[in-house]
């Protein structure tokens, strides 16, 4: 831990200081997002034919592909917020307090990207509201896609509420140092604030965190998202009870990787070594290793079960899967990350933040590849495989590829813009760190001073 004392000036730095690097990154992110938007406009004008998708069966293609794979990937990343919030608020793991808000923002951004993919994937996105809402009372009984939309919406609303509540405390106290041109935003966000609410909000936030933590693993990524696939009996690559746990472990590895990257980025840009300490990265890396282990373990279950004496359709898809270069690449990446985390746990000198960042990028690459492959191969190897055109073929179009870089750009833009408006580290976290710091210092005569605004 650095000897520098954390202060509120530190967390105000992203708002007050804008470097050249910021503009360059914002430019790149905007360009990536803009490129995809252009591609999407073209898709809207020409139809879904601009993608590499086609009809499965006699058609010889797959009808879901990169868009759906990327959708699952982003929902998975969005879980980062929840794990960290839960760790901090429910399990009392205060070490992660400084990155909790970053993680919560990642939830919002990740879910937005995922929601965007649903829209991009549709043949008639213009009817989304009328057709889905209009028949909701009927379809909610049977359509997993409607369950999905329901739970994602609920999750988004809960997380946004949670963030809005916790931001009130910070904005009120830091208001004098915040830029005046955002005054209307701050006014709305702190409407009716009084100090009496702090305790109440704290309790509300705890309950919200509890609700979200139950919702996310049990219903969202361990529930409705895998059920989109796991409930289809005629697609043996998807069908089965393992998908719930499997999806969840994959989501958790992606989520932690996302938080590692964000934490590193902010620490690096704003000299936050005394705020987001090395300890945070060590801890996150260990968690990454743990979930990677679960990820690989559940893959092992599927591979062994699908090759030993599986029914014909299932053994076909599993054999195809394990011989796919993309699958081998993906699993190797996760395995290497697992090796790294264990080695650095045994020999701490091998740990470095940069290595953890590399591990996070590796995992995110692996999970994206795995998710797309899962969707595509599931459709390529159906039970009814009599067609000459089955297994079909698929290679994403340039527009589909651009959707990945585009949504990464979109999420990056989100963070760059949000960090100019509100503090991305909680004031509470700084106060907390100050207390710790004070205790450490008091031994050698350092006095604890009140810096509360």
């Amino acid at each position: 831990m650095s000897t520098e004392r954390p202060s509120k000036e530190d967390i105000l730095r992203p708002i007050q200081r804008t470097s050249r690097g910021y503009y360059i990154l914002l430019g790149i992110a905007t360009l990536a997002f803009g490129l995809f938007l252009v591609g999407w406009m073209y898709q809207l004008s020409e139809g879904m034919i601009v993608t590499g998708l086609s009809d499965w069966g006699s058609g010889g293609g797959v009808t879901w592909g990169l868009y759906i794979g990327a959708f699952i990937w982003w929902v998975g990343i969005a879980h980062g917020g929840i794990i960290l919030s839960a760790a901090v608020r429910l399990l009392g793991m205060e070490r992660y307090m400084p990155v909790a808000r970053l993680a919560e923002l990642l939830t919002i951004a990740g879910l937005s990207a995922a929601g965007f993919f649903i829209v991009v994937h549709l043949g008639r996105p213009d009817r989304m509201v009328t057709s889905i809402i209009g028949h909701y009372h009927i379809t909610v009984h049977s359509s997993p896609l409607v369950w999905d939309v329901t739970v994602i919406t609920l999750y988004l609303v809960l997380t946004a509420t949670y963030l809005a509540l916790t931001l009130r405390y910070d904005i009120t106290r830091l208001r004098d140092d915040l830029p005046n041109h955002f005054e209307p935003i701050y006014k709305v966000m702190t409407i009716g604030y009084s100090e009496k609410e702090d305790l109440i909000v704290q309790r509300m936030v705890w309950w919200l965190a509890l609700a979200i933590i139950i919702l996310a693993p049990l219903l969202l990524h361990g529930g409705v998202i895998p059920w989109l696939f796991a409930l289809i009996p005629s697609m043996p690559g998807w069908f089965g009870a393992v998908q719930g746990p499997q999806f969840l472990t994959i989501a958790l590895t992606s989520a932690i990787s996302g938080v590692i990257l964000l934490s590193y980025g902010f620490r690096y840009s704003y000299d936050w070594q005394h705020i987001i300490a090395d300890d945070v990265f060590r801890g996150l890396t260990l968690w990454l290793g743990f979930f990677s282990l679960l990820f690989l373990w559940l893959q092992l279950q599927q591979v062994v079960g699908g090759t030993y004496a599986a029914p014909l359709d299932q053994s076909t898809v599993v054999s195809a899967m394990i011989s796919a270069p993309i699958y081998i690449t993906s699993m190797t990446l996760v395995f290497l990350v697992l090796v790294y985390t264990f080695v650095q746990a045994v020999r701490p000198s091998l740990f470095s933040k940069k290595r953890s960042v590399v591990a996070a990028v590796a995992v995110l690459t692996a999970t994206l590849l795995e998710k797309i492959l899962f969707v595509v191969e599931g459709l390529m190897y159906p039970t009814f495989s009599i067609y000459g055109a089955v297994p079909g073929s698929y290679w994403p179009s340039l527009i589909e590829f651009a959707s990945i870089t585009g949504t990464i750009g979109m999420v990056t833009m989100f963070f760059l813009l949000v960090s100019k408006v509100v503090p991305v580290v909680e004031l509470h976290a700084v106060e907390h760190l100050q207390e710790d710091h004070g205790h450490e210092r008091s031994g050698d005569g350092g006095a604890e001073t009140e810096v509360e605004a």
Binding site: D55, S58, G60, S385
Partner: protein, 468 residues
């Protein structure tokens, strides 16, 4: 079970709150000491009353006797008292009162009124049970089995794989009838071989239209009710105006019968005949799909709804086009229908379609097996039944094997195959006619060449093609 926008209740259940609600009410009724069937019957008719399809007087007339028998009294007015009733809306809990409450606002949208009326009827339906339970015979509503229940029409097919010669006429006719794009093979025919199993007898061919499953997985997963099953005749259709193009139905269908409209269809909407698009409920469910929505074999609903004339009801384009009569379309719930007759005795029906009119001997054999002509007692007096049978079997062959496709998945398909069932290892092989050898002229007078693999066609629009 999904409901269309324009129907106030889901098709199988007459109740606007759906199947489950209705079942619950039925169970409650069954627990009471009164006749549950009568209750349900009356409830169904009460819905008809709210829709204006049955007059209140008729309703009272219809059930007066039954209600008297069941409850010993009937407080409701019969036809004689109708006029008085109509001028006096104060009758407690009567249907007319409910109707008045919902119906007096002429300004609101018709559909909205229908919805409200549905809700009102639901309330009355519930009320019917409540009052019966209290042994109060002044029943306001309750209701009836009309002919659209379990025993109603269920369109389906019997497909004789032994008769199919793989000419693809059905595929072409379907494309022509529905103005389908190249590669959109709502009807698909394929030859197959099984590497593990050499069959000694029969053909190895499969005709694959949509199976119009009774428990259609595509309908179940649809997030919008665009994919729906019609209660009136069991057709599984896509409402082109509601579909959002998520393609989940295509994912969930075990048979791969769905074809998405990836781009603007070759034939514009203006060029299509409206009668060939809209069902009798005014929903767009037939002909090629507009861009961005899902399509599949429809069993020609515009024919079944009488849009093409009464003589076309009970026929499909593929059936009409099939030279060897391998396709038998009809009501699977009707033992007298063509498919059921065919299923009962495939050799006879084959012989019938093969026999020439001047082959008197064969015609006689057919008539004997058909029961239209008395067989001779012994061979010297003429043709015996055994002789006739032998003759028919000789020509029509045997049909030991019938099956439904992937029945184990639980979809309850409404297509019955006569012939060899392909095993799980079966693989498609080239047939006698190739898809691209055929074409049709669309209504815009352009030739459309059929294609086997749709992806070959859609790849032309893919941005950035890769040599894979």
């Amino acid at each position: 079970m999904n409901a269309d926008d324009d129907s106030t209740g889901s098709p199988d259940s007459f109740h606007p709150l759906g199947d489950e609600w209705e079942r619950e009410l039925e169970e409650l009724l069954e627990e009471s000491d009164y006749d549950a069937d009568l209750g349900m019957e009356m409830a169904r008719d009460a819905m008809e009353v709210t829709k204006g399809e049955l007059s209140e007087a008729e309703f009272h007339e219809r059930y007066h006797d039954d209600v008297m028998e069941e409850f010993g009294q009937d407080d409701r007015p019969t036809e004689a008292a109708l006029e008085e009733l109509e001028s006096d809306a104060g009758l407690d809990g009567s249907v007319s009162e409910a109707l008045a409450a919902f119906g007096d606002d002429g300004a609101v949208d018709r559909r909205e009124v229908m919805k409200k009326m549905g809700a009102g009827a639901a309330f009355l339906g519930l009320g019917a049970w409540a009052t019966m339970d209290e042994t109060d015979p002044s029943v306001d509503a309750a209701a009836a089995q009309d002919d659209e229940s379990e025993d109603g029409t269920q369109w389906g097919m019997v497909l004789d794989l032994e008769r199919c010669d793989g000419c693809l006429s059905c595929v072409q006719a379907c494309a022509d009838e529905n103005q389908l794009d190249s590669g959109v093979n709502w009807m698909y025919v394929l030859d197959w071989e099984d590497p593990d199993e050499q069959l000694d007898t029969g053909r190895q061919r499969l005709i694959r239209p949509c199976q119009h499953c009774t428990d259609a997985p595509c309908e179940k997963v649809c997030p919008t009710t665009a994919r729906h099953t019609r209660a009136s005749d069991g057709l599984v259709l896509t409402d082109y105006d509601i579909c959002i193009g998520c393609r989940y139905c295509q994912v969930a269908c075990p048979y791969g019968v769905n074809y998405f409209q990836w781009n603007e269809p070759g034939v514009s909407a203006d060029a299509l005949d409206e009668d060939h698009i809209y069902s009798d409920r005014g929903r767009p469910v037939d002909s090629r799909a507009p861009r961005g929505v899902m399509s599949k074999c429809t069993f020609c609903p515009s024919r079944q709804d009488g849009n093409m004339g009464e003589e076309m009801v009970g026929s499909t384009a593929c059936e009409d086009a099939c030279p060897p009569n391998a396709i038998q379309f009809g009501d699977m719930n009707d033992p007298e229908s063509a498919p059921q007759q065919y299923r009962e005795d495939p050799p006879l029906q084959r012989a019938r379609s093969m026999a020439s009119d001047d082959d008197d001997e064969l015609q006689e054999a057919i008539d004997i097996i058909d029961g239209e002509e008395e067989p001779a007692e012994d061979a010297e007096d003429g043709m015996t039944e055994a002789e006739a049978r032998a003759m028919i079997d000789d020509l029509g062959g045997t049909a030991d094997s019938t099956f439904k496709l992937l029945e184990e998945i639980g979809t309850n398909p409404n297509i019955v195959y006569v012939g060899n069932e392909p095993g799980p290892n079966a693989e498609q092989v080239g047939g006698p006619i190739q898809y691209d050898e055929l074409s049709y002229e669309n209504v815009e007078e352009e030739m459309v060449q059929l294609a086997d693999e749709r992806k070959d066609v859609t790849d032309e629009g893919t941005v950035g093609e890769y040599p894979l």
